[in-house]
Amino acid sequence: MGNILEIIGAVLVLLGSVFLFLGALGLVRMPDLYNRIQAGTKASTLGAFLTLFGLLLIIPEWWGKLVLLMTFILITNPVSSHVLARAAHYIKIPLTDKTVADLLNKEETTYKVNEEIKNE
């Protein structure tokens, strides 16, 4: 029984590393910052999840710490990519030529941020 769990765990760790690799490939292939963040966030979340879950099957005694790690990854990962994308848009990093729409009004929001900084 222990052996089967170990094999399943190893396969999951392998799958996780495949997703992490695809995320890295996405970082290289995507044309602009926003698309790169997209590839980076999603692939790294699922990759880390699968790797940790595989480890949980191999070494069941560590389940508490591994579950905690998964929770923190789930909470912090989207927040960091959201903040990066927001900051990038405020300092007007251009979107790629393939972009079809940009409904976030740059002038207005940049102005608002400057006002907020002045007020503090």
Binding site: G26, T41, K42, L68, V79, T99, V100, A101, L104
Partner: protein, 164 residues
């Protein structure tokens, strides 16, 4: 209001303590209970995000259901992005679009924005009141109502039941 807040912080701290220690001896538990109680009393009046939580059987059920829906979407989004990355022609059609949410509470909006960031080719760039600006890897429609139906609705209808 305040008691609810303190209870939420206490339970979160205690569960983190138990998970970190990974053992159920009575001494370890007593230290954990005392520590989390003191910290939750001190921080209770300063942390206000848990004020909007509802403690009921229904909200617990919907939270677990939400987790399953979310994990399914996470896997789908990864396969989608992986497919795009591996296709030689790089089939993307990116852009920033507007969507609208009916959620009122801060906590609900935060969870919604985080979920959108982690799911199929979408990334929340900014929130202004009830308008969410979302960067899509493949823009479906620029119309605000259609975009809301495509991206936000599936999470929102569950979150509404938890956070109202």
């Amino acid at each position: 209001m305040k008691i609810k807040n303190i209870t939420a912080i206490f339970l979160i701290l205690l569960s983190i303590w138990i998970l970190l220690n990974n053992q159920f001896q009575i001494e370890v538990m007593i230290i954990g209970v005392i520590l989390s109680f003191v910290i939750s009393i001190i921080m209770g009046s300063r942390i206000t995000v848990f004020n909007e939580l509802k403690f009921s059987l229904g909200s617990v059920f919907y939270t677990i259901w939400y987790l399953f829906v979310f994990l399914a979407e996470l896997v789908k989004s990864n396969l989608d992005v992986a497919r795009r990355v591996l296709t030689p022609s790089l089939p993307i059609n990116p852009g920033i679009i507007k969507t609208k949410t009916v959620l009122k509470s801060k906590m609900g909006r935060m969870i919604l924005a985080n979920s959108i960031t982690l799911t199929p080719g979408t990334l929340t760039v900014d929130i202004e009141d009830d308008i969410l600006y979302i960067h899509c890897i493949d823009v479906c429609c620029e119309d605000i109502d259609k975009a809301t139906a495509a991206i936000v609705d599936k999470f929102e209808k569950i979150l509404v039941k938890i956070y109202g």
